[in-house]
C-alpha cells in the first residue's frame, strides 16, 4: 500500500516537485532503457514476458553467450551432453551466494527448475524427465528427447537463476518489491513503467568470462529509467538528465551526433524485418513470383533512406552474428530488379501500360498486410513502392498486432511485412515448421524435404558444430524456396555522455547487457 501512496504523491506532482532537480550523483549511472525494453512488468522471470538489461544484472544464468553466440560458463563452470542427447550434466561454480546470503548450489538450481512447472515457461523443460542433484555442485537433467533449445533457453534472461526461497516467501510481490539472484547488482527499487534502481553487489566475484572484470562491478549504483517517448529521452540526454541512452531512435541519430560530449556506438541487435509470402495463395503459389518479389526488395535503399545508412542489409532469415546465418552465397537473397522482371515474364505476368503486370486479363494485385504502428507503416509503404517497380500492385491493410495474428490463421493472406526478435537458429523451426501453419508459420510453408531437414536439425544435432551444420542446410533449403524476403536488420544505437561514461573497448556479448556493464566505468 505504501507503494501506491508514493505513486499518488508523485502523480499529483507534489513529491515530484520536491525531487525535481535532484542532481545526478557522481557514482550513479543514469541510463534510459531502449524502447523495446520499456514496460517490463516484473523481475520474476517466470512471470515476465519481456525483460530488460536489469534482469541480466540481478540474475546470473547457468551459461551466457558471447558476441558470436558461443556459450561461455556463468554459474555453471562446465557442462556436457550425453552422446544420445538424453542427459545434460552441469558442474556449478563454488562459493557463490545469492543476494540474501543463501548459498548457491545444486539443490538451489533444482528447486529453481522445479518452479517452472505450472508457469508459461514450463515448456523450457518440456523434454526434461527428471532433475537429479548428483552432488552439492553437480546437477543432471535426464531427458525424454534431445532438446536443441535447452542451452539457448538457459542462456537468456529468462534462464536467470532466482533464489527459490525468496521467490516463495515473497509470493505475489516477488519481482516487484524484491528480486533475489546472484548477479552483480541488487534490486533497490522498482517503480513499474518508470524506473529501476540497482546497487552493486560488493561480494560479486564470479562473473562470467565474457567480461574482463569478473567482479565486483565498477559502478556503485545504476538508475534505469523508462522513457517511452523517443524525443523525450533524447532531450534528457541533451540536458544531462541521463548519462546514456541504451537505444537511440533512428530519427535522432543525426541530432545526437551533433551534441557536444555525446558519443555514439552501435551494438548488434536481435531483430530482422522481412516480407513473408503465403506459398499456398495465388500468385505466390508460383515460386517464380515469390522469387521475383524477393529480388525486388531493395535493401540498400531502405537502409540508406529510411534508416540513414545505419544497420545491415540482410540476405537470409537470420541476424548476421549467428553462425547459422553463414549460408552458401548462391542462397543469399539480393536485390536484382532485372531478374525479378524476367522471372515474372517467364511466369506469364506481362507488363501493362501502367507498369502493373497482368496474366490472362488478371492484374498482378496483392494485399500486403502490416501492423498499424508507424514503424510498420513506414517500411510497408516503401515495400509497396518497390514491389510496384517490378509490376506488383499491392494494397496495404493494417491491423493491430493481436488481431493480425488471428487473421493469419484464416490463411487468406497473401503477403505481410513483419519483424521478429530472436538470436537462435531455431527461429526457422518456429516460423517455417509444418505443424504451426497460419501462425506462427505465416508463409504456410510445408514441404516434405524441409520437414526432413528440420527434424535433423532440431533433434539430430549432437554437438554445437552439428547443430550449425544441420541448421545451415535447413536454412539454405528454405531460402531456395522463397517463402519470405529479408528487408532490414537494425543495429542497436547507444549514445552516452563521454564526460561521464567510459565505455569498454570491446563488448563480448550479443547485446548490451551484463558483460558490457561489468566493464563500464564512470569518469570522476
Amino acid at each position: 500500500m505504501t507503494k501506491h501512496h508514493r505513486h499518488l504523491w508523485a502523480g499529483l506532482g507534489l513529491g515530484a516537485l520536491l525531487s525535481f532537480s535532484a542532481p545526478v550523483m557522481a557514482d550513479e549511472l543514469v541510463a534510459a532503457l531502449k524502447g523495446a525494453e520499456v514496460g517490463v512488468s516484473t523481475y520474476d522471470m517466470l512471470k515476465a514476458i519481456n525483460s530488460n538489461v536489469a534482469s541480466t544484472l540481478i540474475y546470473d544464468p547457468l551459461i551466457e553467450q558471447n558476441a558470436n553466440h558461443g556459450y561461455v560458463p556463468a554459474l555453471a563452470e562446465s557442462w556436457e551432453e550425453a552422446p544420445d542427447g538424453l542427459q545434460w550434466t552441469f558442474h556449478l561454480k563454488k562459493g557463490v551466494k545469492f543476494h540474501n546470503g543463501v548459498d548457491f548450489n545444486a539443490q538451489a538450481v533444482a528447486d529453481w527448475l522445479a518452479m517452472f512447472k505450472g508457469t508459461d515457461f514450463e515448456y523450457y523443460l518440456g523434454a526434461v524427465k527428471e532433475i537429479v542433484v548428483v552432488d552439492d555442485y553437480t546437477i543432471r537433467l535426464d531427458m525424454t528427447r534431445p532438446d536443441p533449445n535447452l542451452l539457448y533457453n538457459l542462456s537468456t534472461p529468462f534462464g536467470g537463476v532466482m533464489e527459490p526461497g525468496a521467490r516463495k516467501a515473497d509470493g505475489e510481490n516477488y519481482g516487484l518489491t524484491a528480486a533475489v539472484g546472484t548477479g552483480p547488482y541488487k534490486l533497490e527499487s522498482f517503480a513499474v513503467g518508470q524506473e529501476t534502481v540497482l546497487v552493486r553487489n560488493d561480494d560479486y566475484t564470479w562473473g562470467a568470462a565474457n567480461a574482463t572484470n569478473t567482479g565486483p562491478a565498477n559502478i556503485e549504483r545504476i538508475r534505469l529509467r523508462e522513457i517511452g517517448e523517443a524525443s523525450t529521452s533524447f532531450l534528457e540526454l541533451q540536458t544531462g538528465g541521463v548519462d546514456m541512452l541504451l537505444g537511440v531512435p533512428q530519427e535522432f541519430l543525426s541530432e545526437a551526433a551533433k551534441l557536444p560530449n555525446v558519443k555514439l556506438m552501435t551494438m548488434p541487435d536481435q531483430e530482422i524485418w522481412y516480407l513473408v509470402m503465403n506459398v499456398t495463395a495465388a500468385p505466390f503459389d508460383d515460386i517464380r513470383v515469390r522469387q521475383a518479389a524477393a529480388l525486388a526488395v531493395n535493401r540498400q535503399a531502405i537502409k540508406d533512406n529510411l534508416y540513414g545508412g545505419a544497420g545491415n542489409t540482410p540476405s537470409t532469415f537470420m541476424i548476421s552474428s549467428l553462425p547459422e546465418e553463414k549460408v552458401a552465397d548462391q542462397f543469399r537473397i539480393k536485390f536484382d530488379l532485372d531478374k525479378a522482371k524476367a522471372l515474372l515474364d517467364e511466369a506469364g505476368w506481362v507488363a501493362g501500360a501502367d507498369g502493373i503486370r497482368a496474366k490472362d486479363g488478371q492484374p498482378l494485385k496483392i494485399t500486403l498486410w502490416t501492423q498499424s504502428d508507424s514503424n510498420f507503416r513506414r517500411v510497408t509503404e516503401v515495400i509497396q513502392a518497390q514491389l510496384k517497380d517490378a509490376g506488383f500492385a499491392a494494397d496495404i491493410l493494417t491491423f493491430d498486432s493481436a488481431t493480425i495474428r488471428d487473421q493469419y490463421k484464416a490463411g487468406t493472406h497473401q503477403a505481410a511485412v513483419r519483424s521478429y526478435f530472436y538470436d537462435s537458429a531455431t527461429i526457422l523451426d518456429w516460423f517455417f515448421g509444418g505443424d504451426r501453419l497460419g501462425y506462427p508459420n505465416i508463409s504456410m510453408f510445408n514441404d516434405p524435404k524441409a520437414e526432413e531437414l528440420r527434424k535433423v536439425a532440431m533433434t539430430g544435432s549432437k554437438t554445437g558444430e552439428e547443430f550449425t551444420k544441420n541448421f545451415i542446410a535447413y536454412h539454405e533449403y528454405i531460402l531456395s524456396q522463397f517463402p519470405f524476403a529479408p528487408i532490414y536488420e537494425p543495429v542497436g544505437n547507444i549514445a552516452f555522455n563521454a564526460d561521464r561514461v567510459i565505455m569498454p573497448e570491446t563488448i563480448n556479448s550479443p547485446v548490451f547487457q551484463r558483460a558490457a556493464i561489468m566493464d563500464l566505468k564512470l569518469a570522476n
Binding site: 499529483l12 514476458i49 513503467g193 493481436a402
Partner: protein, 308 residues
C-alpha cells in the same frame, strides 16, 4: 428529496450491469485473443491450448462474463493476461497520473472559462464579448493531438522550456493541461455567458439597478451567484468525463495513465485490463450524470418532477 435520490440511485444498478456487459462484449468481439501474444519461440504447438485453458478463454462467453463480474462485485478486477499484474495494481499506478492531469485541466478550464464567460457577459455585445467568444471558439476547435504536438514543438523543441513528454515533475503537466484545458474552456465560458445574460434580464437585477447599486457589484455579487447554478450542474456532468477526456492527450504526450493503459490493452487484447478500465470510465460518467441530476433537482424543483 431523499426519495428522489434513492429512486434515482436504484436506477444506477441496471445501468451499471448494462455498462459492464458492453465493456465485456466490446473487447471480446475483436477478432483474436491475447494468447498468441504469449506464445514464445520454441513453445510446442499444444502450448496455445494450454494457455487458452489456463486463462479460462476456452469457456463460453457467458461463463467468462459471469466469472469476471462476480469478481468485480467482490472487488477483484482480475489479473492482466499480457501485462502480468493484478489489474487493480495497474490501475492504481495509472490513476493518479490521469487524475492529476484531468483534475488540473478541470480546474484550469473552470477558472478560466468562468472568468471569460463573466467578462463576456458584462461586456455583452461589445468588442470584449466578441473577442472572447471568438477566441474561445478557436480554442475549442483545435484538435487536441495537433495542439499538443504544436505546443510540444514550440515550448519543448524550439524554446526548450518544458519537457516534451512523460510524467516527471509538475512541469510535465503544463502542456497536457493546456491542451485539454483550451477545449474545455470554450464550453464553460459559453454556458457561463448564457446563464449570466439570462440572469441580467431578471426582475430582481433590474430592481437592484433601479436602487442605484454599482453595476459591477451587481454583476459580480448577485448575477454571478445566480448564474452559477447551471454552470455547476454542467461541471458536475463533466466530472465523469475528466478521465476519459484525457486519453488522446496522454498518448500524444506519452504520459502514464488510464488512457495509455487502455490503448495498450486494446492493442494487445488484454481483456481484463480493457474491461476494467472501460467499466471504470463508464461508471465515472454514469455517476457524474447522477450527480448532475441530483444537483439540478436540489436547485430546481421542477426538474425533479420531470425526472421522477
Amino acid at each position: 428529496m431523499l426519495g428522489f435520490i434513492i429512486k434515482r440511485s436504484l436506477l444506477l444498478i441496471p445501468v451499471f450491469f448494462a455498462a459492464s456487459i458492453v465493456a465485456f462484449l466490446l473487447i471480446h468481439l475483436v477478432p483474436g485473443d491475447p494468447v498468441d501474444s504469449l506464445l514464445t519461440v520454441g513453445s510446442p504447438p499444444e502450448q496455445r491450448q494450454i494457455l487458452t485453458e489456463r486463462y479460462g478463454l476456452d469457456k463460453p462467453l457467458v461463463v467468462q462474463y459471469g466469472i469476471w463480474i462476480w469478481g468485480v462485485l467482490q472487488g477483484d478486477l482480475g489479473t492482466a493476461i499480457i501485462m502480468r499484474r493484478p489489474v487493480a495494481d495497474l490501475m492504481a499506478d495509472a490513476l493518479p497520473h490521469s487524475i492529476a492531469l484531468g483534475a488540473s485541466a478541470f480546474i484550469f478550464y473552470t477558472v478560466i472559462g468562468v472568468s471569460l464567460g463573466v467578462t463576456a457577459a458584462i461586456f455583452r455585445d461589445r468588442w470584449p464579448d466578441r473577442a472572447i467568444m471568438t477566441g474561445v471558439l478557436f480554442g475549442s476547435t483545435l484538435p487536441s493531438f495537433w495542439l499538443g504536438l504544436l505546443l510540444m514543438l514550440v515550448f519543448s523543441v524550439w524554446l526548450g522550456w518544458l519537457p516534451v513528454s512523460g510524467a516527471r515533475g509538475a512541469s510535465s503537466l503544463v502542456l497536457p493541461v493546456l491542451t485539454i484545458g483550451l477545449g474545455g474552456t470554450a464550453l464553460v465560458a459559453r454556458i457561463t455567458r448564457v446563464a449570466m445574460v439570462e440572469t441580467q434580464r431578471k426582475d430582481f437585477v433590474m430592481l437592484l439597478h433601479a436602487k442605484g447599486m454599482h453595476p459591477l457589484r451587481i454583476q459580480l455579487l448577485r448575477v454571478l451567484h445566480h448564474a452559477l447554478i447551471p454552470v455547476v450542474t454542467i461541471l458536475a456532468l463533466r466530472i465523469g468525463f475528466v478521465l476519459g477526456g484525457a486519453i488522446t492527450v496522454e498518448v500524444v504526450f506519452a504520459r502514464p495513465g488510464i488512457g495509455t493503459l487502455l490503448i495498450r490493452g486494446i492493442m494487445q487484447h488484454d481483456y481484463p485490463v480493457v474491461q476494467a478500465c472501460l467499466l471504470m470510465l463508464s461508471t465515472a460518467v454514469i455517476l457524474g450524470t447522477f450527480l448532475g441530476d441530483v444537483l439540478q433537482a436540489l436547485m430546481d424543483p421542477r426538474a425533479r418532477a420531470s425526472l421522477t
